[in-house]
Subunit: 89 residues, 2 copies
């Protein structure tokens, strides 16, 4: 699955840890609540500018937010994908 799916999940998880509603986080990040919901579901793929806004609203850096998403993606990789990855490296 694409990184966008994991990014959305991480945003949702961090938002809930901060006990922000979607509306509260959207406000903090100057984003539309509907759009934030789409990002969380991996339906909308955020731009770098949006990533930076969301990260700032969650008090982390954009690179940390992406790193968390990459870690989630690595955790969910299938054995087939792993061996393919190993073959490529």
């Amino acid at each position: 699955m694409s990184i966008g799916i994991y990014f959305g999940r991480v945003v949702k998880q961090l938002r809930e840890e901060h006990r922000y509603s979607q509306e509260a986080l959207a406000d903090r990040a100057s984003l539309n609540r509907t759009y934030l919901g789409e990002v969380e579901r991996g339906v909308a793929v955020p731009s770098l500018a949006t990533i930076a806004k969301i990260a700032s609203a969650l008090n982390i850096s954009a690179s940390e937010l992406i790193a968390l998403s990459e870690r989630q993606q690595q955790l969910h990789i299938t054995p087939q994908e792993k061996s393919l990855q190993a073959a490529v490296v």
Copy 2:
């Protein structure tokens, strides 16, 4: 200045370190060369999907690419912005 400007500069710098032409990097990343040029100049703001493609084509992770951009941004922050940042923290 926005993170997109620094992202573009970092992409250009890494591309040149790899001795890739814009065309070669665009090919590796499955992007249009004109679009890659716009990203490098900070004119186009890349999506997370595009960031992942460019990072992969440069053999680094998306989070490392963003971290390099953030470092560049921090280096270019003005004294006024620095004191404002300190005041906010």
